[in-house]
Symmetry: C2
Subunit: 178 residues, 2 copies
């Protein structure tokens, strides 16, 4: 990934379409990564992202303890690796090594960037009040990176049970919405 | 819309890919409808949906007061109407009439279904504790409807500033994820 800093004010446009993302964490000397689809933008700037990370997931404790993660956005080229990360648990496995993903140092958090993803968002946990009841966390994006060489990233969107919609054509309409 | 009841356990598969949806409300004798992209699944069953409805939107008061809404999922065929609903406010306009959308009676809520959408989810507001700070509402889906004739609905996914990604091909991978 050739990475370039991406304006925080534009981050919502990466997540609002709803692609599957990877959540990377670093906890007790080990990096881990899991796919996630249950998230939403909550504020434009600073960008806030609300997300559900199940308390059955190994990443739950890492996120809660370290209060940091990276949200990385994969494309269809690595869809099989993304599914592999969902089929396995970081308790027993180094998923980066197993699935040929490359952790890169981030600038603001100890969790790693994922080199094979076209965008990476360094995040800090800012509100865990809904974690107990809903496994819901509010993250603030501190720093965003994008691969400027990837003009039309074909993101994947989970429809359940391993069926994914691959991003198709784009359409421009005269909208006054941000 | 030829509508058929849709299992609540499968609702997550409609929303998890992240399409733009319409939120329909009924308040003080008036129906209204607005587009929304900032939402996430929060639980499989009963299906819980977390969503951000800005307190600048006319729908905010309707949702907060009536504690009911319908989430309707449009396809690219009515993308221009969806954008129209976002460019205008229900304070001054009957958007259903203006944009040629047809309100239909729902079964569990007073908010209307949107006939032109391929799926409609009748929702009740179950948690507004994050409404003050984040404009964030937790909805429970009480009843779901789908148009069984629409086999490959081309949903639209907002990338910001009126640019939409239209759902492309589907891909099936050997996933153990729900």
């Amino acid at each position: 990934m050739a990475k370039r800093a991406y304006p925080l004010a534009k981050v919502y446009g990466l997540l609002e379409p709803g692609p599957v993302v990877l959540v990377a964490t670093q906890h007790r000397g080990r990096a881990n990564v899991m796919p996630m689809s249950w998230y939403t933008m909550m504020e434009f700037e600073p960008p806030l992202v609300g997300c559900v990370v199940s308390n059955r997931d190994y990443s739950f404790a890492a996120l809660r303890s370290t209060k940091e993660c990276v949200i990385a956005i994969p494309t269809v080229q690595i869809a099989a690796q993304v599914v592999g990360c969902g089929n396995t648990t970081g308790r027993k496995l180094d998923k980066f090594a197993r699935f040929g993903l490359t952790p890169l140092p981030a600038s603001r958090v100890s969790a790693p960037l994922v080199a094979e993803c076209y965008a990476n968002l360094e995040c800090r946990l800012v509100d865990a009040r809904m974690a107990q009841k809903y496994n819901f966390f509010v993250l603030q994006v501190l720093k965003a990176w994008i691969d400027p060489a990837r003009k039309r990233p074909r993101t994947i969107h989970h429809m359940g049970r391993g069926v994914f919609m691959v991003a198709g054509r784009t359409l421009r309409l005269p909208s006054r919405m941000k």
